[in-house]
Amino acid sequence: MTAFVEMKQITKVYPNGVVANKGVDFSVEQGEIHALVGENGAGKSTLMKILYGLEAPTHGEIWLRGQRVDIPNPQRAIELGIGMVHQNFMLVPSFTIAENIVLGSEPRKGRFIDRAQAIAVTEELSKTYGLQVDPTARIEATPVGMRQRVEILKTLYRGADLLILDEPTAVLTPQETDELFIAIRKLVNQGKTVIFITHKLIEVKEISDRVTVMRHGEVTGCVATRNVTEADIARMMVGRAVFLQIDKPPVRRGRVVAEVRNLGYVAETGRPVLRNISFDVHAGEILGVAGVEGNGQTELVEVMTGLRPATTGEICVDGTPVQRQSPRRIRQSGVAHIPEDRLTNGVALDATIAENLVVDRYNRPPFTQRGVLSPQRIRKHAETLMRQFDIRAAGPDAPMRSLSGGNMQKVIVAREFSAEPVLLIAAQPTRGVDIGATEFVHNQLVAKRNEGKAVLLVSADLAEVMSLADRIAVMYKGEIVAILDNGPELTEEEIGLYMLGVRRQETATRAIKAA
């Protein structure tokens, strides 16, 4: 039997050099619920965007119902019966549900939209597929779960046979999730096929017939769900990565540099993002923070560096409380920060390299003396750092925009390392940079540790954390669920179980302070 959808040897290389998919083979049978799992950045979203015509593959073929097809845009995908429900809903808030469902291909009566017909169509679809909606309610007045059902009905109205659901449960309550699963089963009973993107293993077991696991842009396995356990899938997700060879002398822990106690952060939406977080970072050690992305790591770093205010709890750096202080005060107490989102926080693309290198110190001697700024000293400083950190660019006056990703990251590393911090917070420091720059950053982090600085390394790349960190804190749903000593006996599988919420350390037994 030929597969319903077959993607063969799909490779996607983005213009900035990031390889999102490497020779991916992916196939889905007619009438199945197929889970596609992997960490953020594993390439699953890119693969689905290719299938839905949002991205063009660099290489590879797509076969649908035994025929080779080209999908240059979503319009074509819809014609072929492929529908996608995005994580962020694309609905018009001021329109009613019925209006949203028929939007773009409205039933007409003469020159006008036939509202009665739109409502009738919506009711019929709703009944057929068991997706409860109120056709006359405005989107802005409906709960998230219903909006999602509207998105699904929208794709069905356009005649989709294959539905791609991109992390559909991320925004749902457990009850809504249960309802969604019932609806999905009903859809399949009616002959539809569903691709379900997630990184929650419990859901994979509960809903899917088969599961394809991706990691680092490649497929690491495709199995029937009933034959495997959650731990098996976790292993495939996290994988046995090739360890990066890093020479690291044994840890020589000094004083406690950073002390985080009962830290909490509630987002503006009222959702608690960080809960009761406590840990220490010692001088001379690297504390790694592992976790599937979106479990609070970003917020933890931003709260610690002053970009977001902590809701509760304390942070001390060398004994000075710094919670809810400005980024400048926190920097003055000795914290440097390599930010996760380089282009948003880490650089100003329209400024020069020299200017980017002094954003934290332009107001101090030797750059400013008696209130006067010296562009010449700023340029000199840049020349020195560019030599020291091997930043390849036309010169200190070259715009940041002209640099490659790796060199941009070197500019950030050069600035933050030369700030002589006591605590260095590095978030995803090697994301999207080439192997050479990755190695460079790793060696620099270890060098700082050996100098006796405290390093907090947050990374979604478990191999990176395991090869660099002395201790590893694992985050899950805004909490630290374990703090583990890194050593030969610690396995990726064990960390993976904590990362995916399958296991958690008792708070009492947790080593907030290192032994």
Binding site: P327, T344, N345, T368, G371
Partner: protein
Amino acid sequence: MRGMARFIEPVRIIAVVLIALAIGFVITALVSKEPVQAYTALLTGPLPRISFENGFEIKNINRFGNWLEESTTLILLGLAVSIVFRARQFSLGAEGQMLLGALMTAIIALKLSLPFPAHMLLALATAMMIGFLWGLVPGLLKAYLSVDEIVSTLMLNVIALQLFDLLLFNWLRDPAAGFVGTAPFPTSAVLPLLIPGTRVSLMTVLMLIAVVVVWFLMARTPFGFELKMLGANRKFAEYGGINTKRVIALSMAASGILAGLAGAHLSMGLLKRLTINLSPGLGFEGIVVALLARNDPRWVLLAGLFYGYLRTGAQIMERSSDVTREVVLIIQAIIILLITAERLFPFVQEWVQALRGRREMAVEGG
């Protein structure tokens, strides 16, 4: 290599100016019976003529004066706008700040009697102060309450205009005058004349000082660096420790100082009194100057002189030919549009890029 980049931009602007002037001529030719004469008036009108008919004599010095007077106001307004634009804040408050600056000088000039130069200096200082405050208000609103500065500055312009009219009608107006306006300012509160036969005053010198001060502020002070980083990427500036709220508020306030000074120029230098409809819309001309100059104070000086020349020439063209004011304004607008619309000239862009590419290759090779 840096010299090259500096060279390309002026060449581009000059090329665009020439093209724009050519288009302007075509339009003139379409509407005028004597287009060459009319266009000559536009292009050479503001220049003084040296005549030897009755021995050495400089004629039309008043036209030359008009050019400098006009440019002085425009450059002050251009500087004001360039400060906020540099920080990528779109404050449109110069008009209101200018009006209030002029209003304050009238109050000081007419309601206080002091000797020169104390009287003049006090009037200038209050004009700058009111500009500062009228800029600080939308600055604080934007920084701390995220009030859109376009809306708030436009609203504050309306308030300023009504305040101006109210005080002028009910308090400052000279009932003996045949129009709505104040009595002439006492000489102790008038800016000293620089060139006889014109209205070019001390303000032209103050304007030159202001250019230097604003350049220094932008290029040689930590505040200038903060402005630039805020404009380049606000999140980056915050991450680096810059108090962006303070910078936003102060940039708008600093801008107001210069707009207030422009207002003082109108009242204390040009009119020597306050009249109704002081100069509607002039406050927005600073935006044109700042755009032409790419927010660089040094270029504001040149752009202001250029735009002032164009405006003065246009007035002369209107007076001395059959081309109507509306056509003159159209030509003026086309020239400005062409210069500010960067992407209208892809071939110039490509040419610039080709030069840049060659430059970069040279760098890598060497």
